[in-house]
């Protein structure tokens, strides 16, 4: 069994991080150049970490499977980034952001990590502004804020509907500066396929060069995985086509515990499915819920067009059920409510969709205000659906969007493999069982700019890990493992395409390990995933060769990992006999359909240790709440 030591510093919550920073060991400035650090992924977490570590003087090797650092999926985040600046004088504070995040996460996050996140949130905004991120401003020249789901203060900073893009371009500009200086070496078109562990420490990675097919070895004294989440296990999600779990999954199989795999976020405001050929789902920013009202017909099977349904025949179900938060209720509640009304047969035009209606806001504020706030989102909607949302209410439906689960990390963001750090969505640490809107960008940048640069240094100065030679037998063995795996995939030559199997897995995951789960469905899901995994091994068809650009081979490797991860998600969901946040078990709910947590038995982080295919050992990290009183989450 792994010993989980969260390494939470002692003392008052408000002083933990300051004390810890003081107590951490430092690497002498002239010694920093003796250390090589690998950063995988160039999204918000990876770009900010690689840039900040480069600025400190470490030799950084950064890796991306894209052609450029700027393409990482953080770029697609629309709505905003939270920070407890209290610029609006509406009662925000570090403690309030901390409290909202713990509560929003349904009391399944580690208090100390969340407090630190809130504590550094203000510095993130300062940093971004200094980099030239053009946040929205008020007429007086001050920064503008908007409100977001799960909060009653305005603490969200934004840059039109492209906040992720602007924050990422800011972080990547800092990274580019270090690349220009030669302090960071960026390896593009490289996909990490294995972690190299020597004597129990992370010492490097094995990558496939996606242009030449070459299997390359890279050594370092610390490895940071900033590789995002795993929503694409559902095939259809709001994640980009290439988002995948491979880096963290291979690290998991090399000893890093995987925590809370079942905590997935289904985002309430996505475009509904158009048909079989659909390749992904498109998110409409949650910020739309600030001014849009969500409703469905009161009558079942009402197939009239939205504008033909009179006011008194509309059910504004979120406003009705949650009068104080209304349309801004947290994501899990909003998503589940949408599914409920559609399952009742009250979906828009009888289908799987609900309306998001701006007609009242347009009447109240004028079209130009709505256009200024959401113009580009409305354009995107019209481009995709062919309908004009200024005139016809949008149709939306929930879709997998974010995964709160990920590799287990301690307070220093280090996994159970010494020297292996996990940042951003790839770790499990800050959002508990549900993430609040505009908090993903905050966490990615907090980890990369303000946490890892300290804690990685502490590891290097404390453990003084030696540099491994890439000719070490462990590097060669791991390289061979990767090459053999690729050979195997290319030689199966069965009848099913990679996408066909991925779509099948997606359907199993959505139906059995989706928004509402139960014991029977989960058990069926586990069997079906196992069967599909065997089918993949025997009957998948991967065309082409390794020594070339081979996108089918890239996808095949990723799907092979999803076929294992999917099972862990189901196993984790089955073991957690409670409902919390994004994990809703139908057996555990109140009479009014609200999630029923079981704090006596499940107030812990489930960290799964890999043993063999389909077999994991459960390790528990108990969660202690010393600053927030456990309560039933209420947004009524």
């Amino acid at each position: 069994m792994i010993k989980l030591d969260s390494k939470i510093p002692a003392g008052d919550i408000a002083e933990k991080w300051s004390n810890h920073k003081f107590n951490m060991k430092l690497v002498n400035p002239s010694n920093k150049r003796k250390y090589d650090i690998i950063v995988v992924g160039t999204g918000l977490a990876g770009a900010s970490a690689a840039a900040s570590l480069g600025e400190l003087g470490y030799n950084v090797k950064a890796f991306t499977f894209h052609d450029s650092g700027r393409r990482a999926h953080s770029i697609a985040a629309q709505g905003g980034i939270n920070a407890s600046k209290n610029y609006q004088n509406d009662g925000d504070s570090i403690f309030r952001l901390f409290y909202d995040t713990v509560k929003g996460g349904d009391f399944r996050a580690r208090e100390a990590n969340v407090y630190r996140l809130a504590e550094v949130s203000g510095s993130i905004i300062d940093q971004c502004v200094a980099q030239g991120v053009p946040f929205a401003r008020e007429y007086g020249g001050l920064l503008d804020n908007r409100s977001f789901g799960g909060a009653q203060v305005s603490r969200t900073f934004y840059a039109r509907g492209q906040t992720g893009q602007q924050l990422l371009l800011g972080a990547v500009s800092a990274l580019n500066r270090q690349i220009g200086k030669g302090q960071v070496k960026l390896f593009t078109k490289r996909e990490m396929l294995e972690l190299v562990v020597i004597d129990g420490q992370a010492k490097g990675i094995i990558c496939r060069n996606l242009v030449t097919g070459e299997i390359e070895k890279y050594s370092a004294q610390a490895v940071l995985l900033c590789t995002g989440g795993y929503s694409n296990v559902y095939f259809l999600s709001t994640n980009a086509m290439n988002c995948n779990t491979t880096a963290i999954w291979r690290a998991h199989k090399k000893g890093a515990a995987f925590a809370n795999a079942c905590y997935t976020q289904i985002h309430p405001t996505c475009l509904p499915l158009h048909g079989e050929s659909q390749s992904k789902l498109t998110l409409m920013s949650e910020s739309l819920r600030n001014d849009g009202r969500i409703w469905v017909p009161k009558k079942k099977g009402d197939t009239r067009k939205a504008n033909d349904i009179p006011e008194d025949e509309r059910d504004y179900y979120l406003e009705r059920k949650y009068p104080s938060f209304g349309n801004l209720s947290p994501r899990d509640i909003s998503s589940r409510s949408a599914k409920e009304v559609c399952d009742e047969g009250r979906g828009a035009e009888g289908g799987d969709a609900v309306y998001l209606d701006f007609s009242d806001a347009i009447k109240r504020l004028g079209k130009h205000v709505i256009q200024e706030r959401y113009g580009n989102l409305f354009d995107v909607y019209e481009t995709i659906t062919g309908e004009n949302p200024y005139k016809i209410p949008m149709k939306i439906y929930p879709a997998p969007h974010y995964t709160m689960g990920g590799l287990w990390v301690d307070y220093n963001l280090m996994s159970t493999v010494p020297g292996l750090f996990i940042l951003g969505e790839a770790n499990f640490s800050d959002h508990g069982a549900n993430r609040l809107g505009a908090s993903a960008l905050m966490q990615g940048l907090a980890d990369g700019y303000f946490v890892a640069p300290y804690t990685v240094g502490n590891y290097l100065a404390g453990d003084k890990p030696e540099k491994a030679n890439i000719d070490h037998s462990e590097f060669n063995n791991t390289q061979k493992e990767v090459e053999d795996n690729i050979k195997k995939l290319l030689s199966i030559n069965g009848k099913k395409t990679v996408d066909e199997i991925h779509k099948k897995l997606g359907r199993i995951m959505w139906n059995k390990v989706g928004m509402a789960r139960n014991e029977k469905k989960l058990k069926e899901g586990i069997i079906e995933i196992k069967e599909l995994r065997e089918e993949f091994k025997k009957d998948v068809k991967v065309v082409g060769q390794n020594e070339d650009i081979n996108q089918t081979l890239e996808r095949a490797g990723r799907v092979a990992d999803y076929l294992e991860l999917g099972e862990l998600m189901a196993v984790d969901a089955l073991h957690r006999n409670e409902s919390c946040g994004g994990h809703f078990r139908e057996e555990y709910q109140f009479e009014d359909g609200e999630a029923k947590r079981d704090d006596a038995n499940y107030s812990y982080v489930a960290a799964w240790e890999y043993e063999s295919p389909g077999k994991w050992n459960l390790n528990k990290e108990p969660l202690q709440f010393e600053n927030v009183k456990l309560a039933t989450r209420s947004y009524k």
Partner: protein, 256 residues
């Protein structure tokens, strides 16, 4: 969203590697009008794979028009003829039943074809490494509200910052010029107070690198703006030229 099926003829550029000779290959497909053009290629590829044939290599990622990964020349237009969208946002309802569609990679001297529809755009990143940033380290920066920025100035910086780095401007230009891309980055920082200290150094460094990477010059045809998925304005090129000239004069003054 009323959908119907379209029968189309595709003529797609196939090229095994940067050193091999390319050609058009013809495919007949049937596709839902609700699908995007990339979803049509997904379906085509799935069928090719089933037949044991090599799928058409093309890049895409977010499929929401923001990551800048996708970029195809469709019937002669980078990202297709509909204004202000990326390739991934082009839906088949914009085509007619029976139509023939030509699909090619972005073509420019600085963008060598790697395979089929995939080109190497790293030359654009090289320009950014040379100066596409404000030199601030993490930490030690002033409070975000310390420096006031007028709303319209922030908005104009944002207009320039919306560039997604796809390279359509280069592909659209008969000179394969990258001046819209570089001008947008230069302008974003020129508008903002934070960008002032390095304003003139930056423009010189970026222009020098742009020339070194083999991008052509601007001859004011405005094809870049017309094809830009974000509608980035050519005034950014004028602003860059202005800054570049001022930088020249300033550096001459220093030398005297």
């Amino acid at each position: 969203m009323s959908s119907n099926n379209l029968k189309l003829t595709l003529k797609i550029w196939r090229q095994e590697s940067s050193s091999s000779k390319g050609r058009f290959e013809e495919f007949k497909v049937s596709v839902s009008s609700d699908a995007s053009i990339l979803e049509m290629l997904d379906e085509l590829n799935d069928n090719l794979e089933r037949e044991g044939k090599n799928p058409v290599a093309f890049e895409s990622d977010c499929r929401e028009g923001i990551c800048g990964t996708c970029g195809l020349v469709i019937n002669g237009h980078p990202h297709g003829k509909i204004p202000k969208i990326a390739t991934c946002q082009l839906h088949m309802r914009n085509f007619k039943d029976g139509e023939t569609i030509y699909i090619e990679p972005f073509r420019a001297k600085s963008f060598p074809v790697l395979k089929d529809l995939i080109v190497d755009r790293s030359a654009l990143d090289e320009v950014l490494y040379a100066g596409g940033y404000i030199s601030v380290n993490t930490g030690g920066v002033p409070d975000a509200n310390e420096i006031l920025i007028p709303k319209d100035v922030a908005a104009r910086a944002m207009d320039a910052a919306e560039c997604i780095g796809c390279g359509a401007c280069v592909a659209a230009c008969k000179n394969a010029s990258a001046m819209l891309f570089v001008g947008a980055k230069v302008s974003q920082y020129s508008f903002l107070p934070q960008g002032q200290p390095e304003r003139y150094q930056r423009v010189q460094a970026m222009v020098a690198k742009m020339d070194e990477m083999g991008f052509g010059s601007c001859t004011n045809t405005y094809a870049c703006e017309a094809e830009c998925p974000k509608g980035i304005s050519v005034t950014n090129i004028a602003r860059m030229n202005n800054d570049f000239i001022v930088a020249k004069i300033r550096s001459a003054e220093v030398e005297i």
